[in-house]
Symmetry: C2
Subunit: 144 residues, 2 copies
DNA sequence: CAATCTCACTTGCATATTGCAAGTTAAATC
DNA sequence: GATTTAACTTGCAATATGCAAGTGAGATTG
C-alpha cells in the first residue's frame, strides 16, 4: 500500500477532500464503474457507454485517473492501435465507494439496473470479493 | 423511503449516474461531511471550513442539495438572520458513501485526521450507528 | 500494396461553471 | 442610531465542458 504525497495544490488535508479532488466530477466514477462492473477496457468501449461522454473529456479523464495511479494503460499486444486500460490496486479498492453510491441512489431515487442493486444489497461483501477476485485473476495473468 | 422520479434530463438510468449527477462536484460532499461529522449548521460555518469555498458557490450548492432533498433549512428561532441547515434522512443515509471515500483516500494518499480514520477503520459500523443516532436525537427534538 | 477503415485521440470554438471581490439587505448588537 | 453580523447576490475574469470536425498510426480489404 504505497502512498503518494499530497500534491502541493491540495485545498486541505482531509481525506475526503483528497477523494473529491480526484473523483469529484461528473465522469470519473462512471468510467471506473465501466471498468469494474462491466469489464470495459478500451477508449471506444467507454465512449459508447450510456452516458455519452465526449472524446476530449474521456481522454482527459483517462489521463487524470492514470496520473493518480487509479488506472494504468498498455498497448494491446494483438492490436497495436488499442490501448488497454485497467484498474490498479488503488482503483479496484474504490469498489466499496461505488457500491455505496449505487445503493444510496437505488434507495432514494428512481433508477434502473435492479438486478445489480439487489445483488449489492443482499450480498454486498460477496460482490466486493467477486469483483476483487476477477481483478486478481486478470492481474496475475499479466505477470506470467 | 420516498423516491423521487428521475428528472427528465438525466443521462442514464444507472443509480451511480444519479449519485454522480447529485454529488459529483468538488464541494457537495465536503459540505455534507461538515454537517455529518462536524455538526456545522450555518452558512458561515461552512464558509470557514478548511477548503475555503466561495460564497456564491456555497449558496448554489446549498440550494441544489436542498432541491435534491438531501438537506433542509429553517430559520434559527433565536436569531432571525441565521438559517439552520440540516440533513434529511436521505442526507444522513450518505454516511456510508462518505466513510468509504475517507477510508479509500486514507489508505492510498497522504492525508490528515488520523483519529477519525482510525475510528472509521476499527469501528465503521459503530461510527455509522453513532452518526445516525446523533441525527435521530436532533431530528426528533424538532418535532416535539 | 494501395485504398479504406478503425482506434485513440487532438483541435477549435461556443457555452457553462467556477472563483474572486465587492456589493446588498435584513436582523442583531452596541 | 450606528455598527456589526449573517446570508446571500452581482459582475466579471478564468477555467472547464461539450460538440463537431480533423489527424495519424496501425489494421483490414480488394
Amino acid at each position: 500500500m504505497q502512498k503518494k504525497k499530497a500534491p502541493p495544490g491540495r485545498r486541505s488535508f482531509c481525506p475526503l477532500n483528497a477523494s473529491v479532488e480526484m473523483l469529484g466530477d461528473r465522469w470519473s466514477l462512471l468510467i471506473l464503474r465501466d471498468m469494474m462492473l462491466r469489464g470495459y477496457q478500451t477508449f471506444n468501449e467507454f465512449l459508447h457507454s450510456d452516458e455519452k461522454i465526449a472524446t476530449n473529456i474521456l481522454a482527459d479523464r483517462l489521463r487524470r485517473l492514470e496520473s493518480y495511479g487509479i488506472i494504468s494503460s498498455r498497448q494491446d499486444p494483438a492490436d497495436g492501435r488499442k490501448l488497454i486500460y485497467s484498474l490498479t490496486a488503488k482503483g479496484i479498492d474504490l469498489a466499496p465507494v461505488i457500491t455505496e453510491m449505487v445503493l444510496w441512489a437505488a434507495r432514494h431515487e428512481e433508477t434502473g439496473n435492479q438486478p445489480l442493486v439487489r445483488q449489492m444489497r443482499t450480498a454486498k461483501e460477496q460482490l466486493l470479493a467477486d469483483v476483487r477476485e476477477r481483478w486478481e485473476e486478470k492481474h496475475s495473468s499479466l505477470n506470467s
